[in-house]
Symmetry: C2
Subunit: 188 residues, 2 copies
């Protein structure tokens, strides 16, 4: 199991918005869903994507998308505009859940499940030098970043992981991690 | 200089469309622009992105986006819906050009400029074993793929490059190539 947790500090927590961009940068959440879950012609069955939404009116919300259960979802932003509006209004969609929940409670749950937890940061262990367990969990922020207090909490349960000196988009970080672990798994 | 060329077989060649998805999967073009050009808080100045659009009404069109000249562009699909509509209608935008032009004529130009040309394909040389020149050009298709005749032409000027057995989205392939070359450049 591979899990990605995006902290979306301003991501709107109801379905009352026009575009994902207007909704506290939920466009970044869409892009991270894409690179976490979608391959060409299919989904990654072993990936779960989470976003913690910290925007108005009811933060924090925990959005979870399971690659093995997701259905009826195209890759484009307009499709996800509809899907995210609906699930944030309380409607159901296969493979997607929304509930109240903070980053700290999610990390606590993953630590109890034995997940190997990483925060993506420039000053961490280089990805090429880390040995990944079967169940690994990657935490990252959007361009606004993770509050220091929350990052401190995550690091009590995990460690920093670096992709080098370049500053990549959150969605690109996920592509890079997925590719790296795909290759490690093939070699082992 | 690093260049990416996406062959969008059905990508619409005028600005008369509602959404990028409706326009022959121009949403994939948007996603590839993102992963080619955008980093967190900035553009890649050394990257040029090209799309060859093969859809109605006036194919083929050659869309070019220069990372060093691009301005006034956010990362979300809705913004690019407007930008691509405008440039396909003949309006100007800093860093973007649209003209008539086929994949073969573009490849011929890049070969004459001395670019090292690759087509992304499973059965190629593994990315970890290839030595990249300063000026490299990566050709890839969307989920529909590159016509055999065109691929044959490109391969007369270049070689196949493999990212392994996984079938990634076109945008993810670009993230992977960018990351790999970023790291190679740092090590050298």
């Amino acid at each position: 199991m591979r899990e990605f947790i995006l902290f979306s500090r301003k991501g709107r927590t109801d379905g009352n918005f026009r575009t994902l961009r207007d909704a506290g940068f939920l466009d970044t959440v869409h892009q991270c869903i894409l690179t976490s879950i979608f391959k060409s012609h299919g989904h990654r069955k072993d990936v779960v994507f989470h976003a913690i939404l910290g925007g108005p009116p009811n933060p924090p919300k925990h959005l979870e998308i399971r690659g093995d259960e997701l259905q009826d979802a195209s890759i484009d932003e307009r499709s996800w505009e509809k899907i995210l509006k609906n699930v944030l209004k309380g409607k159901s969609h296969p493979g997607i859940t929304v509930k109240s929940g903070s980053l700290q409670s999610l990390i606590k749950e993953k630590a109890e499940q034995g997940g190997q937890i990483f925060v993506l940061e420039e000053k961490g262990a280089d990805i090429s030098e880390v040995k990944f367990d079967e169940h690994c969990v990657f935490v990252l922020g959007d361009h606004i970043g993770i509050p220091k207090k929350d990052e401190g909490f995550v690091l009590r349960h995990g460690e920093k992981l670096s992709l080098g000196k370049e500053k990549y988009l959150a969605a690109s970080c996920i592509d890079i991690v997925n590719f790296h672990i795909d290759r490690v798994r093939v070699r082992n």
